[in-house]
Amino acid sequence: MNGVEVAGVGLHPFGRFGDTPATALGVHAADAALADAGWSPADARGRIGAAYCATAYGGVASGHRVLGALALTGIPIVDVEAGCASGGAALALAAASIRSGQHEAVLVVGVEKMPKGIIRSSFFAPWQEEAGLNANPAYFALRAQRLLRDHGLTVDDLAALVVKNRRWGAHNADAMFRSEVTAEQVLASRMVCDPLRLWMLCSPNEGAAAVVLRRGDGGVRLAAAALRSHLPGSVLDESTPMAGLADDTGITPPTTLAATDAYEDAGVGPEDLDVVECQDTDAGRELLSWYELGLCGAGDQGKLLGADEAEAGGGGGGGGPPGPAINRSGGLLSKGEPLGASGLGQVVELVRQLRGRAGDRQVPDARVGLAHTVGRGANASVTVVTR
């Protein structure tokens, strides 16, 4: 009926590309996604009913510039900004426009070109910048420190998480960092904000990703695309409040809110997932995401890390790990994070996995995938794809 299927996906590798404008990155990804759907830009005209462009730093009319270069204007083109969840938000709007019957097919593209280093964001007031209260890694560090204490984890677990993602990222031609690293190297990298060292933090960078959605129930289906914002009260929330309640145990984090919606919409639970791409802006964030998505209990992250290592160690095969394969793309720690493109890049990876075309990173017989982002706003997105 009004199901939504993924007609095509496309990606421009994530990295740093000198003077190449963001528009060119977006055109590359959108063109690839249309081709993957079997359409030339000329074919797409008359089929694509609307376009959503996810970007946080692209500036005015980013989507129009991409669609203009493809001669696909005339349709509604809307830029979507929701921090790290921009891609997930654009996908949610696109899916809703198909489910409502408004459009037969929609193009979703994410583009970003960001400078190196700590992100400058208009989210913070000038006085907060002047006071040094705008250091994202510092907020990540406070969250990581509490996670280690509350879940009984250690700095070695943070290092092991980086080793895991870099190990898979080495097999991803679209990633910025394609070399494996050791825990010793991670723990020897420069301290940014204790306990987080440089290699435990993802790098803001450049890239683009695109997804073509259309009405249908074939191939890879978009089973859920949920977006939620934070509830007030938790001092460590991604909304980075200046204060919170001492008792915040009853305040559900935005990731869990979005995941609960997505599981309900898709009719699946965490136990049904084969492959997951989740937010790893820092190593602690991924370990916390596992818990918030319901992939493991508090303090059980070490078991999943061990299972992934065993899987990668070649033993693999026999039955696979106890949970889903997580961040087989190498995650943001390997790919870098072009804000507007990162969430759609996760979906591109999931679709490749569900189609059985993920090469060295392939999860055998992957049928259910979940993509997750959380960040500025706070916004959290959870997308579920199935086949």
């Binding site: 280093g117 910048e129 006071a131 209260l133 705008n134 250091a135 890694p137 509490r146 420069r190 306990p195």
Partner: protein, 109 residues
């Protein structure tokens, strides 16, 4: 979609719209140090940064810490509010270990 969190009344000012005086003391709940200047910041680095749970009011507050060495701090350490003046003249709240403000610091372990 049932989970909407605390009722809004908990977050809005009372009818009088008045100010609430917060205690000057609390205990350290989370902390780190910022080792590279974030965009727009021209003060000294490294600088301490953390969360203090204020005494008796059930609130946690984010702020600068006067101690830039994370290994010199511990969970639950008594802290007191002070202020810091930054190069542009901005005065901000900050937290300092209580012992350091009145008595010599204990040896670092």
């Amino acid at each position: 979609m049932a989970d909407r969190g605390p009722e809004p009344e908990a977050w809005l000012a009372d009818d009088a719209g008045g100010h609430v005086s917060l205690p000057r003391t609390g205990s350290l709940w989370a902390w780190t140090a910022v080792t590279a200047a974030p965009p727009g910041y021209e003060g000294p680095v490294p600088y301490g940064f953390g969360v203090v749970e204020l005494d008796g009011v059930g609130l946690r507050v984010v702020g600068r810490l006067t101690e830039p060495d994370p290994s010199a701090l511990r969970e639950g350490q008594p802290m007191v509010v002070t202020t810091e003046t930054l190069p542009g003249g901005l005065v901000v709240w900050a937290f300092t270990p209580e012992a350091m403000s009145s008595t010599p610091p204990s040896p670092r372990s």
